[in-house]
């Protein structure tokens, strides 16, 4: 093998490299400064993320194709998902400063963990090989386990972290076994190579590939919190610090969706006569069943939640179901846009909840929100906008993204129209529980002893453009 055939082009992994180096620099700043240099850490993280965003924008010039012997690819999906991930990371860094100073937690490790998680997610979005999928997924997951337990002396945070860790590594093992069997069946771990092997019809052991695909479906199903594998989600989301919940419900989820799309739609979806068609039909049916189950379970259980973090956990399960509807069409763009809109709405909602919950996440019951609508109008209005977006009420981006996914599925796959009908019915059910906190905020009496929460400038800087962008992207799209 010559150096040229490996196609080593460091510009092709520039975003990942920039983010990792930033993480290392933050670690060193943290190690060499006496009492956690908060400002320096946050500024470094911000500079790194903006540089990474610029380098993502220049990826198109490097050229669409695969690099590093097929380990990394550059294509529109990668660029789109990378932008989503970096926006999430930037918002989290902006929101983190208030969280860390209010709770008196060490800042350096938080920022460097966020940066490492971001580099893992970027790698996941750019993976062209099962090895890179695994590596990216684990970098993102392991850092998120730690972040979930970041409030070290809070027992709820510990439990959340432990549950996330145990079930996360359990599901990783399934995913990995699926990858191993796929490798055995196709003699390659390259996603393009797997596609070619299926297309040529020369699979050594077709049954192994079938089992491998099923195992990977279970593994990815756990990671995106889809229905039979969603049980960990509410506990983990409730116990983790709110900002971390916002982070892990959006960034890693979007990145795993990117890899999920690449593996299943990109590699396994080759409807040629014989085995290819059989595999195609099997996994399309499986996805359809999982999608319906996920939406229904998420929405129905969310109806009865009293805690807003748990409610949003079930809502995020339901949203994974809606996004899965986009899978059956084989159209990457609708799912990518859906994940972008969902990430912005969700992280915005969690940002407001974090401020209203105060240090230590004390006030997360919906009843705590009673009558605050006209007391803190800015926060309440933002939260209302985000919740309406999650419900899919026009003119928000949430509505437009749902509309794209559903119409696309309706038109391109007539055999699966029942899936779209189920999704629309579910969206209507979901309006009830999204509107309930809004009603409580604006039309119930104020709780006695309500204290206005503190909102720092950086936090406002994150929330206001986020909600504006969210409304605007609905209008012009």
């Amino acid at each position: 093998m010559q150096l040229e055939t490996l196609n080593l082009n460091y510009w092709a992994i520039a975003p990942e490299v920039i983010v990792s180096i930033t993480a290392v620099v933050i670690m060193l700043i943290d190690a060499f400064s006496k009492r956690g240099a908060h400002r320096a850490n946050a500024t470094t993280a911000m500079i790194g993320l903006v540089l990474a965003l610029i380098s993502v924008a220049t990826l198109g010039r490097v050229g669409v194709g695969s690099y590093f012997a097929g380990m990394v690819v550059i294509d529109p999906i990668r660029i789109f998902f990378s932008i989503t991930i970096l926006i999430v990371a930037i918002l989290v860094v902006l929101l983190a400063s208030q969280f860390l100073s209010d709770e008196g937690l060490p800042p350096g490790e938080f920022y460097s963990l966020i940066m490492f998680a971001t580099s893992g997610m970027l790698l996941l979005a750019s993976a062209g090989d099962l090895v890179t999928v695994f590596l990216g997924l684990e970098i993102a997951s392991i850092t998120t386990y730690v972040l979930a337990g970041y409030r070290r002396y809070d027992i709820r945070s510990n439990e959340s972290s432990l549950k996330y860790f145990l079930l996360g590594s359990f599901s990783t093992a399934f995913l990995l076994y699926g990858m191993a069997l796929t490798y055995g069946a196709t003699r390659t771990t390259n996603l393009d190579g797997i596609r070619q092997a299926i297309a040529s019809g020369q699979i050594i052991y077709p049954q192994l590939l079938m089992i491998g695909a099923a195992m990977m479906l279970v593994g990815f199903g756990f990671k995106i919190a889809s229905a039979p594998f969603h049980l960990w989600t509410p506990d983990v989301y409730e116990g983790a610090p709110t900002i971390v919940t916002g982070f892990m419900g959006t960034g890693p989820k979007a990145a795993v969706f990117a890899a999920f799309l690449r593996v299943f739609v990109g590699s396994f979806d080759v409807p040629v006569e014989g085995f290819g068609l059989q595999l195609h039909n099997t996994w399309i049916t499986a996805i359809a069943v999982i999608a319906i189950l996920t939406m229904t379970v998420g929405n129905v259980i969310a109806l009865s939640q009293k805690n807003i973090k748990r409610m949003l956990a079930y809502s995020s399960i339901a949203h994974a179901g809606y996004a899965l509807v986009g899978f059956v069409t084989g159209n990457f763009a609708t799912v990518a846009f859906y994940m972008l809109a969902y990430s912005i709405m969700n992280i915005g909602a969690f940002a407001v909840i974090q401020i209203l919950a105060r240090a230590g996440d004390q006030k997360t019951q919906i009843a705590d929100y009673s009558g605050i609508g006209f007391e803190v109008p800015g926060l309440s209005f933002s939260l209302a906008v985000f919740l309406m977006g999650l419900a899919g009420i026009p003119p928000t981006a949430g509505f437009i993204s749902k509309f794209f996914v559903f119409t696309n599925a309706w038109e391109s796959v007539p055999a699966l129209r029942y899936l779209v009908i189920a999704a629309v019915i579910n969206s209507i059910i979901s309006v009830y529980y999204y509107l309930y906190p809004i009603v409580v905020m604006f039309f119930r009496p104020l709780n006695p002893g309500f204290v206005r929460p503190r909102v720092t400038r950086t936090t406002a800087l994150a929330i206001i453009p986020d909600s504006a962008r969210h409304l605007l992207s609905g209008v012009d799209a």
């Binding site: 695994f134 590596l135 709820r156 432990l162 860790f165 990995l176 490798y183 055995g184």
Partner: protein, 100 residues
Amino acid sequence: MVPLSWYLALSAVLFTIGVVGVIIQRNVIVLFMCVELMLNAVNLTLVSFSRYLGDITGQLFVFIVMAVAAAEAAVGLAIIISLFRNRETLNVDEADLLKL
């Protein structure tokens, strides 16, 4: 040479033992060991495929899996220690503050 199916059967059995262990065990450390067993069962599958297909990728994959498993072990133990410090128990049934 020992046929490939023997290795695959062995690793499938090991993987299943791990899965069953995770489901029925109650001690966090044992749960954690079961997960490690699952990962190592996968390593066995990868190595035997690599040998029989005459393709080196499987072995490279195993290196990555081992490194990741080590990182996971370190993080897992740290999480377990911090829970134990606050709670003084290793029984997962007692980690029940967050009700399902």
